[in-house]
């Protein structure tokens, strides 16, 4: 009976997850195919999985900006790695701190943390603070610091994990043995927290990878253009399109030759370029990610 139940479970799991995976994959395949479709044909007939006319035009257009894009990739990887590592450190330390509710001040810190999720000073004052006082404009700090380094949501997730999944008896035992708090943190808490660390690591990495706003606001094209990440570059292309499209009547008057503007196909190619590397990277790191999640879950 057990094995039958097992088989049914497996069947349900495979069908459900498989269907979901397929739903997720198909549009992506469509995206790739679309980027290789001839734009004129696509405009007339709509995109499909089997276009009648193929074209490399989209990628040719992007290749012209090849060196910019190559450099942007490198930049993105650097920023993502640095940002994720620092973020994990700060987040876990902070979360551990506030998970100890009996320490004076931690409850207040907790509230202050949640408060930041709701109230935000807005772009102008944040920009002032970073540019005027800390002068991060056109430096790599502009990509690492604003808004991404520590995320209240992640802190809460980690804090909950600490509170719910790590038995206090472990800490007590270690304290009695004379271990310092730091030692407890490094030797006991962290190894047991691999699942959640892996999780927030992934989420932070994605956040850094996908971020285009920091680059847009804090990097000027000349002084900081070499620091642009891939999403900023791609977003700039799209934004320009949007503006010209929104103001088609006036855009034509300034002679912005609309035909040389990226078409939808090119925008698809741009999107594909933005996603592919992280998919490849994820498939490499997934091993460790899943290991982290499953290993850490094994209790003594």
């Amino acid at each position: 009976m057990k094995s039958r139940e097992n088989t049914i479970t497996q069947l349900i799991a495979h069908i459900f997850c498989g269907a979901a995976a397929l739903c997720a994959l198909l549009p992506f395949v469509l995206l790739i195919i679309a980027s290789f479709t001839d734009n004129a044909w696509a405009t007339a007939n709509g995109y499909s999985f089997l276009p009648k006319e193929w074209s490399l035009e989209a990628y040719r257009y992007i290749a012209v900006q090849g060196s910019t894009i190559g450099r942007a990739y490198v930049m993105t990887v650097v920023v993502t790695v640095l940002g994720t590592v620092s973020s994990i450190l700060i987040t876990t330390l902070f979360a551990y701190g506030i998970s100890n509710k009996d320490i004076p001040g931690m409850k207040i810190l907790n509230f202050l943390l949640v408060f930041t999720m709701l109230f935000n000073g807005g772009l102008v004052s944040t920009y002032y603070t970073y540019v005027k006082y800390f002068q991060i404009r056109d430096t790599i700090w502009a990509l690492l610091l604003p808004n991404l380094l520590m995320n209240a949501f992640n802190v809460i997730l980690v804090k909950n994990y600490f509170t719910n999944s790590i038995p206090p008896s472990l800490k007590e035992a270690a304290r009695i043995d004379g271990a310092s708090e730091f030692r407890i943190f490094v030797k006991i808490i962290m190894p047991l927290s691999l699942p959640i660390v892996a999780t927030i690591g992934l989420m932070t990495a994605l956040a850094y990878w996908n971020d285009w706003q920091n680059g847009m606001y804090y990097l000027s094209e000349r002084g900081g253009g070499h620091l642009y990440t891939i999403q900023t570059v791609l977003n700039n292309i799209n934004e320009n399109l949007q503006v010209l499209k929104q103001n088609a009547s006036q855009a034509a008057s300034i002679g912005a030759t609309t035909v040389n503007m990226p078409t939808t196909t090119i925008r698809m190619a741009i999107a594909a370029i933005g996603i592919l590397p992280i998919m490849i990277a994820y498939s490499f790191f997934q091993r460790y990610f899943v290991k982290g999640i499953t290993l850490g879950g094994v209790k003594e």
Binding site: A13, L31, G122, F153
Partner: protein
Amino acid sequence: MNERVALVFRREIIMTASKNRQLVPVRKKKIRWAHILPFYIMVLPGCIYLLVNNYIPMYGIIIAFKKLNFQKGILGSDWAGLDNFKFLFATKDSWVITRNTLLYNVAFFIVGTILAIAMAILINEVTSKVASKLYQSLILLPYLMSWVVVGYLVYTFLSGEAGLINKSILEPLGLDKINWYMEKKYWPFILLLVNTWKGIGYSMIIYFSNVVGISQDYYEAARIDGATKWQQIKKITLPLLKPTVITLFILSIGQIFRSDFGLFYQIPKNSGPLYDVTRTLDVYVFQALMKNSDYAMSSAAGAYQSVVGFICIVIANQVVKKFNKDSALF
């Protein structure tokens, strides 16, 4: 029992009244700096960051109440009272917009949570490592796409003339083509579907890491007792996921007046006839301020969303505290 017992410990005695109005000796804990200092050091980097990134710029909220003139500086500009908020209510659709924002958030949370948990549990059940890894990666894929791109892809499916649905499904079946972008009745479902499709990989991961963290001992014990898979899930997995669900619930209540702008603006292609069911507060603010970049007004919109979210989250937190003190956010 009015027993007074003097306990001398480190020369401090404090008497407090306990709940049944009896005098009970309590040892006041002396602050052992050596014990708590490490904690303060640990939270220091985070604190500095919160200060710099969030609290110093916090004064920017007053922009919502000011008539912004940069020459006078933010503090020096004239007060505008609540003028900047008026445009939020100046449309006859204010109620519709609010309703859309609220209902979608509720629907997204309920559907998203159920599916994410189901997915997490099922993927955990899959014995083949290869398959489970594959499923996980693929389901995450939509999260990586931007809404602009998803908008194009949806257009591929829903386009009136050449869309995949109209051409490859409805036509062969002999049904009339539907002009999707002009008919509003389908859109709540379309948006729900698209939002779930895009976000489920992400939320699933959160639940997955919790599911995996559940000790196998519980399941062993249950199996020995003869529990079926379904019973195991119902009695062990779900209850242990409850704290996370509650936390996420409270957090999403705090965002109840916010919405994913990309979803509601890019997917319906900003089509006018659909506004009744696709326009949320963020979309309205964007449309209003797109051509007239008024920072004060956009700041007012943000302040409005924040205040409402704050009130809601405090209420929700208090309610949760009544039932389950640990799960409360603060």
